[in-house]
């Protein structure tokens, strides 16, 4: 839309633009509120005044409180920001690229690939058939080992998908490839589990529940850096994404280099979903639910609005879910992935049923 056209835009469009800006501001406020709540709430009761004091760098009355706020809650809340915005944006990109409302960051098999990498470290090296792959025995333990393994798994799947996407022109075929890759990696993990000791399986199972709590210090820096690069790539793809909404042929007729746009979108999604899964484990539902929620709230298909919107909605939702996962007043934590699914599914149902048609967003 040129400036001249914009100036001549009817008042209703201007009003819609204002409404969207208001929504984005409200969402940003919600994220800020969620961030504060996530740091203020937890199994250990810490007065809000003490939390603020600690965050401002002042000495705390209780050194344990300072440790909890600075070393546990603050990194967790920052991780929630990165996870929520990263997964939401990667989901939005996938849904547009495949023009399929069911797509999410896991459809390309990235999450499954990361899971395969983690399983290789945690499970293989057990007994029986997997004995030949004694990766654990090589000493690749510890948290960096897990991150590297998950990244390697995700990258392996990404390389496969990229190679195939160069040959396969049809996005639906690519979607099926992703599903099949997930299936195969799932089977390999299953085989390893079958031959593993119960305590190894438990460790892996805990990983698959997803968690924000293990990302601290240099991990958080790396995660934040990768997510920033991924989000940057995604924001740069806003226009190509808008063009792709109308179909590849239409996009091509508008002068878009579809191949390059597709590569950039897949790369961005892989970085976001791969890194987040590597550090936090598979976190269900944010990727598929938030784009629908964002479209429902902002009532637009324009990615220049949807992308920041999805970032904010994803971050707010993840922060909210993490507050719930910590069950204020209880000493236990719930797995984050379960909370996001329990909360996310009804919300998406509500949005979808209210709008009665999702298809309209994709054509």
């Amino acid at each position: 839309m040129s400036t001249a056209q914009l100036a001549a835009a009817p008042p209703s469009l201007v009003a819609a633009g204002r409404r969207r800006t208001a929504w984005l501001l409200a969402l940003a406020g919600l994220v800020a509120l969620g961030f504060v709540l996530d740091i203020a709430l937890g199994p250990v009761r810490i007065p809000l005044a003490a939390v603020v004091k600690i965050l401002l760098g002042q000495a705390a009355d209780n050194p344990a409180w300072a440790f909890i706020v600075r070393e546990i809650r603050l990194p967790k809340a920052l991780t929630a920001l990165a996870v929520g915005s990263g997964l939401a944006v990667s989901g939005l990109q996938m849904q547009t690229l495949f023009r399929n409302p069911l797509a999410g960051p896991s459809v390309l098999g990235l999450t499954a690939g990361a899971g395969l990498g983690v399983a290789a470290v945690m499970l293989a090296g057990g007994s029986g058939a997997a004995g030949g792959f004694a990766i654990r025995a090589l000493g690749v333990g510890g948290s960096w080992g897990l991150v590297l393994a998950a990244t390697a798994g995700a990258a392996l799947v990404m390389a496969l998908v990229m190679a195939l996407s160069a040959r396969v022109r049809d996005n639906v075929v690519l979607l099926i490839v992703g599903l099949m890759v997930s299936s195969v990696t799932g089977a390999i993990v299953g085989l390893w589990q079958y031959f593993s000791a119960p305590e190894q399986i438990q460790e892996y199972l805990l990983w698959t529940f997803g968690s924000l709590g293990g990302v601290v210090g240099p991990h958080l820096v790396v995660l934040a850096a990768v997510v920033t690069v991924g989000l940057g790539l995604a924001f740069a793809s806003a226009k190509p994404l808008n063009a792709l909404l109308l179909g590849e042929n239409y996009a091509r007729s508008m002068g878009l280099t579809v191949g390059r746009a597709r590569t950039s979108i897949i790369l961005s999604t892989s970085l976001l979903a791969g890194a987040i899964t590597a550090f936090c484990g598979p976190i269900g539902f944010v990727g598929i639910a938030v784009p629908h929620l964002t479209r429902g709230l902002l009532r637009t298909a324009d990615h220049r609005v949807l992308l920041p919107g999805a970032c904010l909605v994803g971050a707010a939702l993840t922060l909210g879910c993490d507050c719930l996962a910590q069950l204020p007043g209880s000493q236990t934590v719930l797995p984050l992935s379960i909370v996001t699914s329990l909360l996310g599914a009804p919300v998406v149902l509500w949005v979808v049923l209210r709008r009665n048609s999702v298809r309209s967003s994709f054509s």
Partner: protein, 345 residues
């Protein structure tokens, strides 16, 4: 039995009656085994009881604890099958594995029934889990291979857990030996516990290593908590109760305790402080980490990765308690050398 609550042994006409209580069922169900001398007929009555001929000549052990029971009674050459070769520490059993005298039958639900039926051992000893009964072994039972569920790990004290060795002794007709040896262990344990109870200092301990957000700590009914009580220390969850024997706490809940604890015990598979730090750099803030009072129970881990603490430690609670007292109150046992535990450098 003096300590154990999970089983009873009574002497009846023509044999012995061993009753194993399943603690997992809604109403406590009991499985009864009638132990009869080899070749003697089945005595009348006890229609529901499974018959096992004694003394046993061959045993398949599905848990390393069962290996420990056999080794304690000097009957390691009885072991002909194991769930996994990986989980065995006892020297005689390792020698038998090396000599190819033991077969592997798989763990958990993936038992190799054909192998078991082909070898037809005198008894398969299995570990009990919640929600599972003897029904999962019906193929073996139908083939005439007796299976006994041994749920020793749900006992709430170390001595009760160790007392399960009396079940195997009854199967081997080694009651005299077991009474002598077990009494010795129990006496030694009580003597040590008295030391621990009267210790002047009660250092604060934190146990275990969290994974991401979850930190499992033993609850009031765990035998590990009893060890800590007997060793004379302050343990924050001494009175807490959980249905499964351990509490799944958030990192944040345990951290304040760990920050100011005097000792940190049982740190997973870590063999050095660097191993702990590699998992999460925040552990460096814990007081025991800074003062160098971190001890793990994996000193006796063999090349296969099997930790003897989980094997012989189950029948030698006196040695475990000696270690704990030596760690927490070094002045009380000056000449004791740590056996299962090691100081993490």
């Amino acid at each position: 039995m003096q300590y154990a609550k999970g089983f009873t042994i009574s002497y009846v006409a023509g044999g012995k009656l061993v009753t194993i209580l399943s603690p997992f069922e809604q109403k406590t169900t009991a499985t009864r085994y009638l132990l009869v001398p080899r070749g003697a007929g089945r005595p009348a009555g006890y229609a529901d009881a499974h018959v096992i001929e004694t003394p046993l000549r061959s045993l398949v052990a599905l848990s390393s604890m069962h290996v420990a029971l056999a080794d304690f009674l000097g009957a390691a050459d009885l072991v002909v099958g194991l769930g996994s070769f990986k989980y065995a520490s006892a020297a005689p059993v390792r020698q038998r594995i090396a000599a190819g005298k033991i077969y592997e039958v798989g763990q958990g639900k993936e038992l190799n029934n054909e192998e078991l039926i082909a070898h037809h051992p005198d008894l398969v000893m299995a570990t009990g889990w919640p929600g599972e009964s003897l029904a999962r072994f019906q193929t073996l039972e139908a083939a005439g291979v007796p299976v006994m569920i041994n749920s020793e790990w749900v006992e709430t004290t170390p001595l009760a857990r160790a007392e399960w060795v009396k079940v195997l002794a009854a199967l081997l007709n080694k009651e005299d030996l077991v009474n002598r040896k077990f009494d010795q262990v129990a006496r030694s344990y009580h003597r040590l516990a008295a030391l621990g109870h009267y210790a002047a200092q009660r250092p604060k301990v934190v146990v275990g290593l969290p994974f991401k957000d979850v930190w499992y700590v033993p609850d009031t009914d765990s035998y590990l908590t009893q060890f800590l009580r007997d060793a004379g220390c302050t343990y924050a969850w001494d009175q807490a109760r959980a249905p499964s024997g351990s509490l799944a706490l958030s990192f944040e809940t345990v951290a304040p305790v760990a920050l100011t604890a005097d000792y940190w015990l049982q740190t997973g598979t870590a063999a050095t402080k660097a191993d702990i730090l590699a998992q999460d750099a925040r552990y460096a803030a814990f007081a025991p980490f800074q003062t160098g009072r971190v001890y793990n129970n994996n000193r006796r881990t063999n090349a296969q990765g099997s930790n003897d603490y989980w094997e012989s430690g189950a029948v030698r609670p006196d040695l475990v308690l000696s270690d704990l007292i030596k760690i927490l109150h070094p002045e009380l046992l000056p000449s004791w050398q740590l056996y299962y535990y090691q100081w993490l450098k």
